[in-house]
């Protein structure tokens, strides 16, 4: 018995979780969750369960699609600014400046209400195969979020490309690598690796930009929370749940980026 308590105490002393202040904090946390569960109203949850899942799914795929397309645009944008001739660098720079200098909400509305109301006036657009998509809201949401991400990340990639040591590119040239091979094997991987910590933060920012799509009738998870409020006049509970959902998605994004960063160890100093 004595041995057992001793070993237990020893284990507790070594574990980072079983420290007194941590135990207290965990207890407070559990109490808060319990209080929220007991004293707040969650009876609406079963009715909106399916809709909420759909909303989460829509938020996540909009995030993933716009980030992937955005970074694919950002690479040439950054490259043009870091190493391109002036007639490529100037338009790329102008694009980044304009997009970064105007509110995303404005861009979204200009595209949706502007383009979206311009298109139906042309019969050849209404008769095209694309029309079933162009009359929906989500293509405009994806387009504007993609352009926004591309502009911000274009600037990040410009710095990342310029920051790759010239000597490493010179070494590649010195062994007879072709320009495209140098870009694919040396320049781009190093630039991306340098940009990863920034990209992680930018992706979280992009997640938090997605609720704007609710203003053009795309039903993401934020729109679902608003819907609950309108239907039931319950305000706090859906918003609290919404905050939790965004926190969890942010956590997953950061975790994924950490994994990617850890693939190449970095020595500081």
């Amino acid at each position: 018995m004595n041995v057992r308590t001793a070993s237990l105490a020893e284990f507790a002393a070594r574990s980072p979780w079983l420290q007194p202040h941590r135990i207290l904090l965990m207890a407070v946390g559990v109490a808060l969750v319990a209080a929220a569960a007991i004293f707040m109203r969650w009876d609406w949850l079963p009715n909106y369960y399916g809709l909420a899942l759909q909303g989460i799914w829509r938020t996540v795929w909009i995030l993933v699609v716009t980030c992937v397309l955005g970074i694919m645009l950002a690479v040439p944008l950054g490259l043009a600014q870091a190493a391109g001739p002036w007639w490529l660098a100037m338009p790329a720079n102008a694009f980044c400046t304009v997009i970064r200098g105007t509110p995303l909400l404005l861009q979204l509305w200009l595209l949706y209400y502007g383009l979206g109301s311009l298109f139906p006036q042309f019969p050849w657009i209404r008769q095209s195969d694309l029309w079933p998509y162009l009359r929906q809201a989500w293509p405009y949401a994806v387009l504007s979020l993609t352009l926004s991400f591309a502009a911000y990340e274009g600037e990040v990639m410009r710095g990342a490309f310029a920051g790759v040591p010239k000597g490493q590119l010179e070494a590649a040239r010195a062994y007879g690598m072709r320009p495209f091979t140098i870009f694919r094997r040396i320049w781009l991987p190093q630039a991306l690796h340098r940009a990863l910590p920034t990209l992680a933060g930018e992706t979280v920012l992009q997640l938090k930009a997605t609720p704007l799509v609710a203003t053009i009738t795309v039903i993401d998870i934020y729109a679902v929370a608003s819907r609950v409020r309108q239907d039931t006049f319950i305000v706090y509970e859906p918003l609290l749940l919404l905050a939790l959902i965004y926190l969890v998605i942010s956590g997953i994004i950061i975790l994924l980026f950490r994994k990617m960063e850890a693939r190449i160890p970095v020595r500081l100093g």
Binding site: G167, Q168, A171, Y175, G176, R178, I186
Partner: protein, 268 residues
């Protein structure tokens, strides 16, 4: 460490000419760095290029594989002349990118700052060019690379990233990377200048081993003692011209020009 005797069979007239540079000029804007330099290295030669700061020795080396484009002159590698042309700005550039890439893949360059690719482990650095330039199968490239790493004493550093290696280890790794392309000629651009004094020896030893086995090398260096030991031919550059050249014993033992005498006094 008497390497000179082992490296002596330079075979002089019978060996083929690996590098031939003739009347090379290089201008950076107004600055005339090379003013008509000629240089020749036959198979098995170890040519050391010495000279003060700003004498143009690094520029000369970097012109051989067109990392710097010469302003005028003739460069032949393995008897193949590098075709040059004037671009729209009036600069001289290689006329045929494919040709210069093919020639570069025969020249193993080693840089002052190592320039190992920092996003790759050591072995990945060594197999990169064989796989992606020369088209060697991956398994074969790895076998060759492991043998080379063992030779430069870095077998156990195989999966380490360059940032976690000392300068001497990085430079030895860079030498292995250059050897992996099975170069006709090795080009060394001040390979020990960026190293801490206690790490210079390990790199020089690897280079001396290469000289001993009869590899053709062109070596820009500040290590006069080393140049005297391993070189078969020494070129003294001053203000962009070859001030004096010849066998190391003659150059270091009985320098003819006042400039070389003074240079040896200050450096040696």
């Amino acid at each position: 460490m008497n390497v000179a005797s082992a490296a002596s069979p330079s075979a002089g007239q019978t060996a083929a000419e690996a590098i031939h540079v003739e009347n090379l000029h290089k201008k950076f804007g107004e600055l005339h760095v090379l003013k008509g330099v000629s240089l020749s290295a036959r198979d098995g030669d170890v040519v050391a290029i010495i000279g003060g700061s700003g004498s143009g020795k690094s520029t000369l080396l970097r012109c051989i594989n067109c990392l710097e484009n010469p302003t005028s002159g003739i460069i032949r590698v393995n008897a193949e002349e590098i075709r040059l042309k004037a671009d729209s700005h009036g600069n001289t550039v290689p006329a045929d990118r494919r040709q210069i890439e093919r020639i570069r893949s025969k020249l193993g360059m080693v840089f002052q700052n190592f320039n190992l690719w920092s996003h790759m482990t050591l072995i990945e650095n060594v197999i990169e060019v064989p796989i992606h330039v020369l088209g060697v199968p991956r398994a074969e490239a790895i076998t060759t690379a492991e043998a080379l790493l063992a030779r430069v004493g870095l077998a156990e550093k195989r999966d380490v990233y360059p940032a976690f290696m000392s300068g001497g280890q990085q430079q030895r790794g860079a030498i292995a990377r250059a050897l992996a392309i099975q170069p006709r000629v090795m080009l060394f651009d001040e390979p020990t200048s960026a190293l801490d004094p206690e790490l210079v020896g390990e790199v020089l030893k690897v280079i001396a081993d290469l000289a001993r086995e009869g590899r053709t090398m062109i070596l820009v260096t500040h290590e006069m003692k080393f140049a005297r030991e391993v070189a078969t031919h020494v070129v003294f550059l001053r203000n962009g011209i070859v001030e004096e050249e010849g066998p190391p014993d003659q150059l270091f033992g009985a320098p003819k020009t006042e400039a070389l005498k003074q240079f040896i006094r200050t450096v040696g």
